[in-house]
């Protein structure tokens, strides 16, 4: 895993910059603060914040880091444990913090969940003993319906912390996703059942019925719902489990249509022996195209460009291509399709 280093005026800015560079959300990144911005005389910032980041092997570790830093800057240190941590201020590493006494793991976690919580908030989190994560408690309040007891959950979370593999179980994520989406459809006052299909490493939530309202123009609403689902799930049950949300089979249908479009583009590339540059698409859409053409003889695919405008290029193989695909000129409709992808990627 590669580390990248960024500098900015504040730690948060540097962190943001780093996230942009590695292209993941904060929960999936791991940070090390190499240098905190020093205040010069008269409030002028003299030193820059230097942050090192990489895609975290484990998501919640990054969160832990973030919490620790915030708490530090909030000046709300209360526990001797945390003061000890902050004494490593300028060159603290995340690994250092995780390897502190195992007992303090839970406390770290607490602080993290309080987020930027300054002094006042810490009482809440601290009052519960180590095993009872703040998170578990909150989750319980919020979604009584789908969580039987936080005790068991919290314990597990804690164990995970120690084993350095803080994964919430598939069931936990599933319960969280289903609770969120059921609440959402209820709020929408829609009669839409939520069906969850969980495979090994993916939670696929299907909102039953053709609800155009939940889909929105170019599936923007659906994408927003999916994003909020992921965020909620990540905050209540941190894991690296993939979450997909679909309404009335929309995504499935679209991926079929997209694959067909990709095959037409491949046929064109083979027939005319030219590279066919597709419209910009979102990463998941590009994957569908790559996958669809992986099995097609005579072409290969690559991507070019930077992310909002990144596009797939279909390249015909050298030499006599065995073309058993029909060439078709009627890819106008399909082109629109691709244009849609590009937009929804924004």
């Amino acid at each position: 895993m590669e580390w990248i280093e960024t500098t900015a005026k504040t730690i948060d800015e540097a962190k943001d910059l780093a996230l942009d560079k590695i292209g993941v959300i904060a929960a999936e990144a791991e940070f090390e603060v190499l240098e905190e911005p020093r205040q010069g005389l008269f409030g002028r910032t003299r030193g820059q914040a230097r942050v090192r980041a990489r895609v975290a092997p484990k998501a919640p570790r990054a969160k832990e880091d973030r919490g620790r830093r915030r708490r530090k800057s909030g000046g709300g240190n209360k526990k001797s444990g945390s003061t000890a941590t902050s004494s490593t201020s300028t060159a603290s590493t995340s690994t250092a913090s995780t390897s502190t006494a195992s007992g303090s793991g839970a406390d770290e976690r607490d602080g993290d969940n309080n987020g930027a919580a300054a002094p006042g908030a810490s009482d809440r989190g601290r009052s519960s003993e180590g095993g009872n994560r703040k998170n578990g408690g909150r989750q319980n309040n919020k979604k009584k319906s789908n969580r039987e007891g936080s005790g068991d959950r919290s314990r597990r979370g804690n164990n995970n912390m120690k084993s350095d593999a803080p994964e919430s179980s598939l069931q936990e994520v599933e319960a969280c996703v289903s609770g969120f989406l059921t609440g959402l459809t209820t709020a929408f006052d829609l009669d839409a059942a939520v069906e969850i299909d969980t495979s090994n490493d993916e939670v696929y939530a299907q909102i039953q019925g053709k609800h155009g309202l939940l889909l929105g123009p170019k599936a923007r609403t659906l994408d927003a719902i999916q994003e909020l689902t992921r965020i909620t799930a990540q905050r209540t049950a941190p894991s690296s489990i993939r979450i997909k949300v679909d309404v009335g089979g929309y995504r499935e249908q679209r991926s079929v249509a997209l694959a067909q479009f990709a095959e037409k583009a491949a046929a064109k590339a083979i027939d005319e022996q030219v590279e066919v540059v597709l419209e910009p698409m979102s990463p998941p859409d590009r994957k569908i195209v790559h996958d669809a053409l992986n099995d097609v003889d005579g072409v290969s695919t690559r991507s070019a460009g930077a992310d909002p405008r990144r596009r797939v290029i279909v390249v015909p193989d050298e030499g006599p291509a065995s073309s058993d695909n029909d060439a078709s000129a009627d890819d106008d409709a399909a082109n629109d399709d691709a244009a849609n992808d590009g937009d929804s990627a924004d």
Partner: protein, 85 residues
């Protein structure tokens, strides 16, 4: 909580905000009419939750606005969502 202006949008907004914050009890929404078919929601959350409802580069906030917009369509209004501490 005033339900008359845009009940669906408000319910959705409340659900979304409570889902992403750490202190769901401290989420409150104030709806005000800003025109014929336009409603403005002022969402106040715990100070520490501001980052959570806004998200990195406003991603969470814009996702919330998108979904609330859809809900508002059901109520026949356009919506505006502001987050205040």
């Amino acid at each position: 909580m005033s339900d008359s202006l845009a009940p669906t949008a408000e319910a959705v907004l409340l659900h979304l905000c409570q889902s992403v914050v750490a202190s769901p009890d401290e989420v409150s929404i104030e709806a005000s009419s800003t025109g014929d078919e336009a409603v403005r929601f002022d969402v106040s959350v715990n100070k520490d939750d501001m980052g959570r409802v806004i998200g990195r580069r406003g991603r969470v906030a814009s996702a919330i606005r998108t979904v609330v917009g859809a809900a508002g369509a059901k109520d026949g209004v356009s919506t505006e969502v502001e987050f205040v501490e």
